[in-house]
Amino acid sequence: MRNAVYINGTGCISAQNTFDRNWFFGEVQIPGKNYLHVNEDSFKNVIPANQSRRMSKIVKMGIASAMSCMKDAGVENVDAIITGTGIGCFEDSEKFLRSMIENDEKLVSPATFIQSTHNTVAAQIALLLKCNAYNFTYTHFGFSFESSMQDAFLQIEDDKNKNILVGGVEEMPRSYLNLIESAGWLKKEGEVENNNSNTSQGVIAGEGSSFFLLSGIKSASAYAQIKNFKTIYKPSDVAELQSEIEKFLSDSTIQLSDIDAVITGLSGDAAADKKSKFISESYFKDNMQLSFKNYFGECPVAVSFALWIAANMIKKKEIPEVLCINKVKHKAPANILIFNQYRDKNYSLILLSAC
C-alpha cells in the first residue's frame, strides 16, 4: 500500500471548458475535426499580457493551469514542481528547425531555441513563483504524467507536509499535427465520429494542461485520495494485462465490485484500443464505465485529464453522463479506477477514493 497522498487542488485547461470551475460537463464541445485545440481565450486574463506575449502556447497553458491549481488549493508556495510532457515544446523546436533549414544554418535567432527544452514549462513556473525548490520534468510518452506522480509520492513519503505541484502538459501545434496526420496516426476527415468499430483507425489529437496540488495532509478543500497507481509497459496480451489489473486491485485491497466507476483510455483507434476494449467488455462489464478521449483528445498526458474528471466526480458527487459508455449506473462514486493506455504500449492504472 502506498503512503496517503491527497489532491488538494486542481487546475485544468483543455478543449472543454474545464478551466471554469462551474462548468463540470455543462455544454460540451463536440469535435468536428481530427484534433481538438485549446481556446486561449478561456484563460486569457490569467497571465499579464507583457509576460504572455513572449510565451509559447504550452508555456501559457502550463502557467495558467498551475496558478489556478495553487489558488484552488490555497497555497502560495510549493515544495516541488514536477511536470510531465511527451512531446515537449514542439512548436518552438519546429520553428527553430525550420529557420535553420531555410537559412542554411545561418542567421538563426536564439529566441525559439531558448524555450525548446522539455523542462521549459516547469522552469517558467519556477521563475514566476521565484521558487528555488526541486524541479523535474518527465518525458516518456504515455508515462510522463504517471512518472511525475510517482516522484511526488516519493517526496511526500519522506515528508507528508510537503505541497507538490504536479502537472501533465501537452501542446498539439499545427506543425506536429501535420506530421502525425501524415504518419497515419489521426482519424481521416469524415471518419471523426467512428470511434467504436473494430476498424476505426486513428485518434483525435488533443492538448491541454492539468495540474494537481498533492500533499500528505488532507486540506479542507481536498478532492480525493490517490490510493494507488501502476504503469504497465507493452503487455504481450490481454491475459497479461488483466492479470496486472487483478494484482493491482489486490495490492490496493479493493474488490472489483467496489470500483464504482472505471474511466477508460479508449482512444478511437481500433488497434490501440483492442486490449482495453476486450477488458472493458469482459472484466469491467459490471462496472460503470466512462470514456473521455473523444471530448479531450489523445495525447501522451491525456491521463491527467482523466484524473481531473475523476477527482471532480468524487468531490462534486456528479457523473458526467455524456462520458458514460455502458448502462451500469452508480450514484455518487467513491472509488474510481482510471485505466488508461497510450498507443497500446504505455498502460496505467490509478485508483482514486473519496477521503
Partner: protein
C-alpha cells in the same frame, strides 16, 4: 530503514573512449577527444570543434549488435553504454529483483528528425519519422534491447538530466520501491543543438577553457553513460563488486532566467548544499569536485561563486572534465558520474585541461595536472541546465 545505494556497474561511450577502460586511459593520459567535426553534416565543420564519437551510425549499429529498425544515434549510443553497465554488474536475469530503467536525453530523436524534415516539408516523404522524435523513444529501444520490462521512464531537464536520473534511481532504491535500477543518459551531436548554442554565442571556436579568465564558451560533445544502482540488500545477496556508494544528492532551481545562471549562483549553491546535507558528511570531507564547468563566461563565474559559498576558503581539488569530452548535454551528469567514480576507485584527481589564468574576480584555481595515489573518499559532481535546473551528486568510497 532506508536502503543504502551502491553502484555495481558502469558503462560509457564518449569521444575519449568506447567503454570504461578506454575512457580511463584517456583521462590518465590527458588525452581529450575534442576535434574537428567529421561525421555530423553541418556548415560549421570548419568553425567549431566538438567531442564527436568517430563512428557513423552504420558502424554504431554493428557495435551495438541490435537489429531494431530506425534506431536513432541517440538510441545506438545508449545501447552500447547500457550494455557495458549491465555486463559489469553481472546481471543474469531481471526477475531476481525489482528492476527499473531511468534514462534521459535532450536531443532525443531530433538528430533523425532534422535530417528527414526538409524532405517532409517538400512533401517527398511522409511524417512517420516522428515516431522516433520524442524523448521516450531511445529509452524504450534500450529497454526492449536489454529486456527490462517495467518501471521505465525518461527525464529531460536539459544539462542536468542524467544527474537527475541517478538521483531518482537512488531515491527509488532508498525508499524500497526498486532493488536495482539502470540510470543515466544519452545525447548526440546535432545541427539543432550546434545551431542553438551558436545562436546564443556561447561556443568556443577552439578548445574550451573551463574556469579560465579568457574562456570563450563551450565545446559540444556527444556521449552515453549508465550506472547500475543496487540496494545494499541486493548487493549482499549476490556478493557483488561495488564501485562506490551514492552518498547524497540535491536538486534546486535557480529561478533567475531561462538560460543564464544567477550571478549569486543560487541554484548551484542550493543543490550542493542539499547534496551535502543529505549525505550526512562534513563539507571538509569532500576530496574532489567534478564541476559542471562548461567554459562559458556565465556558468563558470556563477558556479565559482557558489563553490566559494559552500567551501569558503577551502575549496577542494576541482576540475571540469568537459575539457576532455565537451559538453555532452543530458549525458553529462552520467558521464561525469563515471569519471567521479573512476577517481574514487583509482585514487586520482582529474585535471582541468586548457587552464592558464585564474578568473580574476574569483581567484580559484582548478587542478592543472592529474594526481594519482590520492585517497579519494568523497566526490561532489555538479550538473546545471537550462531552465535553472541545478543538480549535485556525492559519490563515496564503499
Amino acid at each position: 530503514m532506508p536502503q543504502k545505494v551502491f553502484v555495481t556497474g558502469m558503462g560509457i561511450i564518449s569521444s575519449i573512449g568506447n567503454n570504461c577502460p578506454q575512457n580511463f586511459q584517456s583521462l590518465i593520459q590527458s588525452a581529450h577527444g575534442i576535434s574537428d567535426i567529421e561525421i555530423l553534416e553541418t556548415v560549421y565543420r570548419k568553425k567549431y570543434k566538438a567531442g564527436e564519437i568517430k563512428f557513423t551510425n552504420k558502424q554504431l549499429e554493428e557495435m551495438s549488435d541490435c537489429n531494431q529498425d530506425n534506431l536513432t544515434r541517440t538510441s545506438l549510443l545508449g545501447m552500447i553504454a547500457a550494455k557495458e553497465a549491465m555486463f559489469h554488474a553481472q546481471i543474469k536475469n531481471f526477475t531476481d529483483a525489482k528492476t527499473g530503467f531511468i534514462s534521459s536525453t535532450t536531443v532525443a530523436g531530433m538528430c533523425r528528425t532534422e535530417i528527414m524534415y526538409p524532405d517532409f516539408l517538400q512533401s517527398k516523404i511522409n511524417g512517420s519519422f516522428i515516431k522516433t522524435n520524442d524523448c521516450g523513444d531511445s529509452t524504450e529501444c534500450i529497454a526492449d534491447f536489454l529486456g527490462i520490462k517495467n518501471n521505465i521512464t525518461t527525464i529531460s531537464t536539459a544539462c542536468s538530466s542524467s544527474a537527475n536520473a541517478i538521483m531518482l534511481g537512488s531515491r527509488l532504491i532508498k525508499n524500497g520501491k526498486l532493488n536495482r535500477v539502470l540510470v543515466g543518459g544519452t545525447d548526440v551531436l546535432s545541427r539543432f543543438t550546434l545551431n542553438g548554442f551558436n545562436s546564443l554565442q556561447i561556443l568556443d571556436e577552439n578548445w574550451c577553457k573551463p574556469f579560465d579568465e579568457n574562456r570563450k564558451g563551450l565545446n559540444l560533445g556527444e556521449a552515453a553513460a549508465y550506472l547500475v544502482l543496487e540496494s545494499e540488500e541486493q548487493v549482499m545477496k549476490a556478493e557483488k563488486k561495488i564501485f562506490c556508494e551514492i552518498k547524497g544528492y540535491g536538486n534546486a532551481n535557480d529561478a533567475y532566467h531561462q538560460t543564464a545562471s544567477s550571478p549569486e549562483g543560487t541554484g548551484a549553491f542550493l543543490a550542493m548544499q542539499e547534496a551535502i546535507r543529505s549525505s550526512g558528511i562534513n563539507v571538509a570531507e569532500i576530496n574532489y569536485v567534478n564541476a559542471h564547468g562548461t567554459g562559458t563566461n556565465n556558468n563558470d563565474m556563477s558556479e565559482g561563486v557558489a563553490l566559494k559559498k559552500i567551501f569558503g576558503e577551502n575549496i577542494p581539488a576541482f576540475s571540469s572534465t568537459k575539457s576532455f569530452t565537451g559538453h555532452t548535454l543530458a549525458a553529462a551528469g552520467a558521464v561525469e558520474a563515471v569519471f567521479s567514480i573512476l577517481a574514487i576507485t583509482n585514487g586520482m584527481v582529474l585535471p582541468n585541461l586548457n587552464f592558464s589564468d585564474t578568473i580574476s574576480a574569483l581567484n580559484i584555481v582548478p587542478e592543472r595536472k592529474l594526481s594519482q595515489h590520492v585517497d579519494v573518499k568523497y566526490v561532489l559532481s555538479n550538473s546545471f541546465g537550462f531552465g535553472g535546473n541545478c543538480s549535485s551528486l556525492i559519490f563515496g568510497k564503499a
